[in-house]
Amino acid sequence: MIFVEHGPRPEIPAYLRAPFRDIRRGVSAVAENTEEFLESAAPMLPDPAWRVVRSTLDLVEHFEFSETLDAQVLVPARGFVQARNHSAKGAGACARCLGFAWDHTHRSQASLRHVMFSESIAASSLRGIPSPSSASSSDRSALIFLKVLKSGAIGRMPGLATETGDNVLNDASVLLASALVWLLAEPAATEAEERRLLDMSLSLTQAIWDDIPPNTDAPEALGGRFKDMARHL
């Protein structure tokens, strides 16, 4: 803990940040699951030993990079979702924001606790989205939604014998849609307010998700719904 909070932090090159965040997500999820599995063995261990194991796992589970979600990420991400920029940087920033949204909200969904999000895979899939010459701005958010869902960026942790339930796809879709609605909406003034706006977006999307046509062959209609929700966020 002392090293994490006060020790020297190496500067991570920009091209490695997304894979590092994915590794951190993976390690954190493994630690969380290990703690759950070891819980049943806890009575067999001496109390001090169990406390050391648990605090170590807690530390790994909650380890976070010092990076914040500021305008340098949010502006290009919003530009990409709103089809105002089409650069690889925009795609990366968008994937970064989707990863941020996933980290911020997925534990509130019981079915998604053991499901992971890969920012690297998402960014790679978003770079393949056509520019507005072949895709109108109104369906850009829907294309992002469909691309990410089909990319394999969201998936169950390999090697874990945990039940994920039947709602994974639906709940992951709602969460992803809420992140896009957040990026389509008018920005908030501070990072704290952005987090609050993200929470509101998830609640609003959950509340009206049943009204969204599940027909993923109609990206125009889906994108229209996302925009409409963003207007009311």
């Binding site: 509101m200 609003l204 509340a207």
Partner: protein, 219 residues
């Protein structure tokens, strides 16, 4: 008992009726209303934000479904939209009373039905503010707002059918209520003589007041 004015959250350059269609403004305004009502009445409330978001989502759906095309009907629609909000709040009940002040007076509507009073105060305050800010009209509340017999009737009717709350909100706001089909805007518009729709709606029954509304309830 007077209803205290609500301090509204900022809405930048957006007209208030547009800001009120945003979840972020709605949640902030509702929070302001809770503080205002707690100070005014001594009541204490606990609120579930998930339910409150559900209220907003349901209201939005109802609001969009009946939005008039003719801008001349917008002012009337402000009042109707406030009634739809009251109905959604009563359906989902996002706030729960956690305590009344010592020596609460049960003939005071705020203590007789704390949740209902909070919802009505919120809807009337937003209604009044939108009318004043965007349409330069004043809302003149009825004396029935403080009349406990009206509140008995209001609570009983709203529990039976939350749509009847729409008529009661009109009553409290000093407007002519539509009792037969309170949930249909065009009926209300037609009855008020402002209807611009060529099609008559409904079976044409006279709008009978719900049970136990005081005789002078309709003005």
């Amino acid at each position: 008992m007077m209803m205290t004015n609500l301090t509204i959250p900022p809405h930048n350059d957006v007209q208030l009726h547009k800001a009120a269609q945003r979840l972020r403004w709605f949640l902030a305004a509702y929070e302001h209303q809770i503080h205002t009502t707690e100070e005014e009445t001594g009541n204490r409330y606990r609120t579930d934000e998930k339910k409150l978001t559900r209220v907003f989502a349901d209201w939005l759906k109802d609001f969009e479904a009946q939005k008039p095309e003719d801008p001349r009907d917008n002012t009337a629609y402000v009042g109707f939209a406030a009634g739809l909000m009251l109905r959604a709040l009563l359906r989902h009940q996002p706030s729960v009373s956690e305590g009344l002040p010592n020596q609460a007076d049960m003939s005071n509507p705020a203590h007789f039905w704390p949740e209902g009073y909070l919802y009505v105060a919120f809807c009337l305050n937003v209604r009044g503010l939108v009318l004043q800010s965007d349409y330069h009209e004043e809302q003149n509340l009825s004396d029935l707002m403080t009349e406990i017999r009206t509140w008995w009737s209001f609570r009983e009717n709203a529990q039976e059918d939350p749509s009847r709350a729409i008529g009661f909100l009109d009553l409290f706001a000093g407007d002519e209520p539509e009792w037969a089909f309170p949930q249909i805007f065009r009926v209300k518009l037609a009855r008020s003589g402002k209807g611009r729709s060529p099609k008559p709606i409904g079976p044409g029954k006279s709008g009978a007041a719900p049970s136990q509304v005081p005789d002078d309830g309709g003005h």
